[in-house]
């Protein structure tokens, strides 16, 4: 039942045809069956406590009884929060993240905290202290990252949806490699209060699930200004669910030629271009645009991101909470050092300030592209899910996995990752629909209509 749409589950529950406890039964049964192998979850709420939470939830609430998980980068009082790092291995938060509070208020039941690359530092959920997360589609491969645990859990029926976090691709990458749908929102669309910070000017909080329709429902609950997050936007929350059903024939989709060229796996390219054909069938106009920025964006990201993280991770001093700094992983140490170097006296202009100028160029290039079209279509990952160990042991290859995703965080626009095909070996392929700032309704609309005429997103792995 957990892969059924939220709309359907909600209507069955209201009609008395489905008891929410049955959804908890299914989630917990799947956790017992699969978490040992997949290691998607770091921490699972005891069933008795989930039952208690269900008893306090309001039956008329929009997500009543729906079991969900959160990337373990969100503080929750009910469950230890670790950021997948030994530095926080025993940390019990004294407050809840706003995104948790909103979802709990909407009746959803938090059942687990999901594995990630520690602090968000990675694209494979291998850079952490509590074991890798395996891809449910092929256990010898990574689930992607850094929200790999969330993605694997959805694919394996260990929850109905999950809350991920995207700083340079961390929702979109694992969604694409596990056949899930995930949304990187406009910067400031969803409150970051209680989200353990990686790069404060890039970090976004976003929903992950089995369909665009579900993601739209979740965004409706999660979005909106929060007085506890000064960077959260006063921009009115859109009618994401209502706008799903709008016709798409007036939309123009641009394909940046540089992003479907050299360096992209040919099967992924084929799947993305086939999706463009599908959009054409729906009446959408497809045009070519130019966005020659992937490499320079990656360089700027790997300066600004590490700089901001070196500052954010300075708070982990083992005084008010947490263990000592000697427990940071190799990859996290790399990022802290690059950032510290880039911000240090004598190097600040050459590195950090130049990267901030590149950021301005990226914003201008995206504005030029959006003058010609409403949505940009891009691949998510340049390759299929690598085997365990391939990415995490090679710092440069690790960086290059993010090549199509990082510019979007720097510019702050939203991007929807959704399934668009499979490789010959049966590995999921995802694409990105990138929109203008606060244009989530437009990309969700096209994604929804695409999922009405395709069924990639309905496929589940053989476990």
């Amino acid at each position: 039942m957990l892969e059924q749409p939220l709309v359907k589950l909600n209507s069955l529950i209201r009609a008395g045809k489905l008891k929410p406890a049955a959804l908890l039964d299914e989630a917990y049964a799947n956790i017992d069956a699969y978490n040992g192998k997949l290691n998607a979850y770091l921490n699972v709420l005891p069933r008795a406590e989930a039952d208690k939470a269900l008893q306090s939830a309001a039956p008329a609430s929009p997500l009543y009884g729906i079991p969900f998980s959160m990337k373990d980068a969100y503080v929750t009082r009910s469950l230890k929060t670790t950021a997948a790092s030994a530095v926080l291995r025993d940390y019990r938060p004294q407050y809840d993240a706003t995104v948790y509070t909103r979802l709990a208020h909407a009746g959803a039941i938090l059942i687990a905290k999901a594995n990630l690359d520690a602090w968000g530092h990675g694209a494979s959920t291998e850079n952490n202290d509590f074991g890798v997360t395996r891809n449910p589609w092929d256990g010898t491969r990574v689930a992607g990252g850094s929200s790999g645990g969330s993605a694997a859990a959805i694919a394996a029926g260990m929850c109905q949806f999950s809350v991920g976090e995207d700083t340079g691709g961390s929702i979109r990458n694992p969604a694409a490699w596990t056949n899930c749908t995930g949304l990187k929102v406009t910067y400031g669309r969803v409150s970051r209060y209680g989200a353990i910070a990686y790069a404060s000017s890039f970090d976004t909080v976003g929903p992950m699930g089995s369909s665009v329709e579900d993601v739209a429902y979740l965004l409706q609950v999660m979005a909106g200004q929060d007085p506890y997050d000064a960077t959260s936007s006063p921009e009115p929350v859109g009618e994401y669910v209502q706008d799903l059903k709008r016709p798409v024939s007036q939309l123009k989709v641009g394909i940046p030629l540089e992003m479907v060229g050299e360096g992209l796996d040919s099967e992924i390219k084929q799947a993305v271009l086939s999706a463009a054909d599908k959009f054409s069938e729906l009446g959408v106009e497809i045009i070519d645009v130019s966005l020659p920025i992937a490499e320079i964006a990656l360089a700027a990201y790997y300066l600004i991101g590490p700089s901001e993280t070196s500052s954010n991770l300075a708070r982990y001093d083992g005084i008010r909470y947490g263990q000592g700094r000697e427990l940071f992983t190799t990859e996290s140490i790399r990022r802290i050092l690059i950032g510290t170097y880039a911000l240090s006296a004598g190097y600040y202009d050459a590195y950090y300030r130049n990267a901030q100028r590149v950021r301005t160029l990226l914003i201008r290039k995206y504005e030029e592209a959006f003058a010609k079209c409403d949505i940009l279509l891009m691949p998510v990952n340049p390759t299929h899910a690598p085997r365990l160990g391939e990415l995490v042991n090679d710092p440069i290859t690790n960086m290059l996995a993010d090549i199509y995703t990082t510019s979007i965080n720097q510019v702050g626009v939203p991007s929807l990752a959704l399934p668009c095909g499979f490789s010959r070996e049966g590995l999921p392929i995802g694409m990105q629909l990138v929109g203008r700032k606060f244009g989530e309704n437009v990309i969700l609309n096209l994604g929804y209509q695409y999922q009405q005429v395709t069924d990639w997103h309905t496929r589940k792995p053989q476990l």
Binding site: A299, Y302, R320, D349
Partner: protein
């Protein structure tokens, strides 16, 4: 120490030690050569940002579009931690205080 907009100098061992100290990190000395090499490789990649002519381009510091977000200067008890709550995760405490490493010799 280099100043200005371009830096192509190689990373030395003492650069690494300096940065490690600045970042308050603790690294096994045996690992420092690898750390040096990896830092060098990463910087070689990100130095691309120095290749463009960015002299006329302003920096972007943040993209929220917001400025000077303020609130009323009123206590919000919903967000307050009690003293025991605040101390709940402290590895070392003394009579209701966090214990911090000594920074002065007595």
């Amino acid at each position: 120490m280099p100043q200005g907009k371009k830096d192509q100098s190689p990373i030395t061992g003492s650069d690494v030690s300096h940065v490690v100290a600045l970042a308050h990190l603790v690294i096994d000395p045996a690992k420092l050569p690898i750390v040096q090499k990896e830092l060098q490789d990463s910087l070689a990649y990100v130095r691309q940002v120095q290749q463009l002519d960015l002299s006329a381009v302003p920096e972007t510091v943040q993209i929220s579009g917001l400025e000077n977000i303020t609130r009323e200067d009123r206590v919000d008890t919903a967000r307050m931690l009690s003293q025991p709550e605040a101390l709940a995760n402290a590895p070392r405490q003394h009579q209701g205080f966090f214990m911090v490493p000594a920074i002065m010799e007595v």
